[in-house]
């Protein structure tokens, strides 16, 4: 899909004031919530800041779902990157996806294996029917999106050290594993990653350290 075409839907979103206040650092595709009755079968580091996870559904290996996640500096960067990523899609036209998925989403038409491409926070994500058996991936994409957007429940206070530096803040989890990631929620803020700094966090922000299967930690900051 030509970026000129996808940008018709994406451009207005880039221009709009950003208030979602969501930034994810170190997110891996396999940290996405698993599909029901599935098993994580593959995790891949595709490129710096880009990962793919594949789940086998049911008991066979012909029905599979894959998620790719690529981290960008900000939601604006992610929106532009989505247009660039969709250039690697052969189809001349991609329908817009459900409006409740991502900042914007595109889907595959019916005649090819289902896929959803969307932006949430500073991530571009792809959710694919990856095996021979076609799987409706819209519900899965919706669940991944909701998880990314949600404030983690039952987070224990503390555990993330926050320091202020050059107008931004630096978040350092006291304990971190290979699969953990940092989620910053700052309603109304235009968050962006500037090297290792989190910039744009005005007002109140909550910084979470999330590692699947482990306790989540959080620290509140106010500027």
């Amino acid at each position: 899909m030509r970026s000129e075409d996808s940008m018709k839907a994406i451009e207005p979103l880039i221009a709009r004031p950003r208030e979602a206040g969501l930034l994810l650092l170190g997110f891996k595709a396999w940290a996405a919530p698993a599909a029901p009755d599935s098993e994580l079968s593959l995790r891949e580091e595709l490129a710096p800041n880009s990962t793919r996870a594949v789940w086998d559904l049911r008991h066979g290996d012909t029905a599979r779902v894959a998620v790719t996640a690529t981290e960008h500096a900000s939601v604006r960067h992610a929106l532009k990157a989505l247009a660039s990523e969709l250039e690697a899609n052969q189809l001349a036209e991609l329908p817009l996806g459900p409006p409740d998925i991502g900042e914007v989403s595109f889907v595959h038409p019916d005649n090819v294996p289902p896929a959803v491409f969307f932006v949430r926070g500073n991530l571009t994500l792809g959710v694919y029917s990856f095996g021979r058996e076609r799987v409706d991936v819209v519900p899965f994409a919706r669940r991944v999106d909701a998880e990314l957007l949600a404030r983690p429940r039952d987070a224990r206070e503390g555990g993330v050290d926050i320091t202020f530096d050059n107008g931004g803040l630096r978040a350092k989890p006291r304990w971190s594993g290979a699969d953990g990631y940092v989620k910053v929620l700052a309603p109304g803020a235009d968050l962006r990653k500037d090297g290792e700094l989190i910039a744009g966090a005005t007002g109140e922000a909550e910084v979470f350290y999330v590692e699947p299967g482990r306790e989540t930690y959080s620290t509140k900051v106010k500027r």
């Binding site: 899909m1 030509r2 079968s41 593959l42 891949e44 595709l46 490129a47 793919r52 594949v54 086998d56 290996d61 012909t62 599979r64 990523e85 250039e87 690697a88 899609n89 052969q90 189809l91 001349a92 036209e93 595959h108 005649n111 090819v112 294996p113 896929a115 491409f117 792809g126 694919y128 029917s129 990856f130 095996g131 021979r132």
Partner: protein
């Protein structure tokens, strides 16, 4: 007496008389001779480029435990060479024939020609150069991955005495790998042994570059657990070859034309071909047989409105010669009847109705991109 080490790529600057430089994978760095060493234990593969060889091929070897201040004539022969036919009758003949055939394709690369080796006062030799007598590195050579097992012998009183064995994985390709593969510079782009495994398997026994490219195109198209998707799954800036090789060995997965063009170009060029990836834009296709499709399944004949399609070109666009592992064209002129043809060394467009472009495109310009490329492997 025992063998201490064997060197195949003993001259990394050249492939004219020894092996060329490879690595195991993108993170391993170059494999440096000796490829075989007793202590500390080392076993690494080696690879030869048939058409790059212009002088007698040599290896280097070192020994210990020899006669102090003495000399011994040493050689190595194929430890797995099938013996004479045992028994009589058709079955015995057939078994012997199969054993010889398997050994010819997958067996020992050749024999190490005997030479006198001098030992010092401690019974150690220096690093000695031996000539490798191999029919498979000459004009009759073909693509193969050879399990070479040598029985090392010294001569004593007119007869040969076994003193050691060594085993080696040897790849034979048609010519030096071409881009994205290199022989110097970025070590991640040295030919990967894990990719040679795949390419030499798919193009085994092929003697010409055209045959090798066709075999790899066919193999990419017929991977049994793959399904076509329009989205590039293995990278559009770099080619995620390591990921592709992982998925080939696993359950079902999906890929598109860019992934197929990358696979064909990268693996064909690894065995010495000269292909490049090139795109053309804006088209509505005629019915074609989708990736790994069954020509007898009507649903496998599909059409698409594509912004782009990517295929492999011989050298560049000027060759007008293409390979496409992603689809099979319909060569039939009769409605309702399909005749599938895998595009392998096909003319792209020379005004003939059976050329690639008119067989694929129903409408739209199919405008060529301005450049071809060889994506870096990661």
């Amino acid at each position: 007496m025992q063998l201490e080490e064997v060197q195949f790529n003993h001259d990394p600057a050249s492939a004219s008389h020894d092996a060329f430089t490879i690595c195991r994978d993108k993170t391993s760095g170059a494999i440096v001779a000796p490829e075989w060493r007793r202590t500390p234990y080392k076993r690494e593969p080696a690879a030869y480029a048939r058409d790059a060889i212009s002088a007698p091929v040599t290896i280097k070897a070192r020994f210990s435990g020899g006669p102090q201040n003495g000399t011994r004539k040493i050689r190595a022969i194929d430890a797995n060479e099938p013996g004479e036919q045992s028994g009589c009758g058709c079955l015995a003949f057939l078994a012997s024939l199969i054993a010889k055939l398997v050994n010819a394709v997958f067996g020992t690369i050749g024999e190490v020609v005997a030479k006198d080796v001098t030992f010092n006062g401690s019974g150690n030799s220096g690093l000695e150069t031996f000539t490798l007598n191999s029919p498979w590195l000459g004009p009759n050579g073909f693509i193969s991955k050879r399990n070479t097992v040598w029985r090392w012998q010294y001569q004593q009183g007119g007869s040969w005495v076994d003193f050691d064995t060594s085993d080696h994985t040897i790849y034979v390709v048609l010519d030096l790998p071409n881009l994205p593969w290199v022989q110097s510079g970025d070590a991640t782009q040295l030919p990967w042994a894990i990719a040679l495994d795949q390419a030499c398997g798919w193009a085994v026994a092929k003697k010409t570059k055209d045959d090798a490219a066709a075999a790899i195109t066919l193999a990419v198209n017929r991977v049994p657990n793959v399904t076509y998707t329009p989205m590039t799954m293995f990278g559009s800036s770099d080619y995620q070859l390591a990921s592709y090789l992982t998925h080939l060995a696993g359950p079902a997965f999906i890929m598109n034309c860019t992934d197929c063009a990358d696979a064909v170009t990268t693996l064909a060029n690894l065995v010495g071909c000269n292909l490049a990836e090139g795109q053309f834009f804006n088209m509505q296709t005629k019915p074609f047989l989708t990736l790994a499709g069954d020509p007898n399944n009507a649903a496998a004949w599909v059409t698409f409105g594509w912004n782009y399609h990517e295929i492999c070109w011989l050298n560049d666009y000027s060759s007008n010669t293409v390979w496409d592992g992603c689809l099979q064209l319909d060569m039939s002129n009769n409605p309702g009847v399909h005749v599938a043809q895998l595009p392998a060394k096909m003319t792209f467009n020379a005004g003939n109705a059976n050329d690639y472009k008119p067989r694929l495109i129903a409408s739209g310009p199919g405008t060529l991109n301005t450049f071809v490329r060889h994506r870096r492997v990661v």
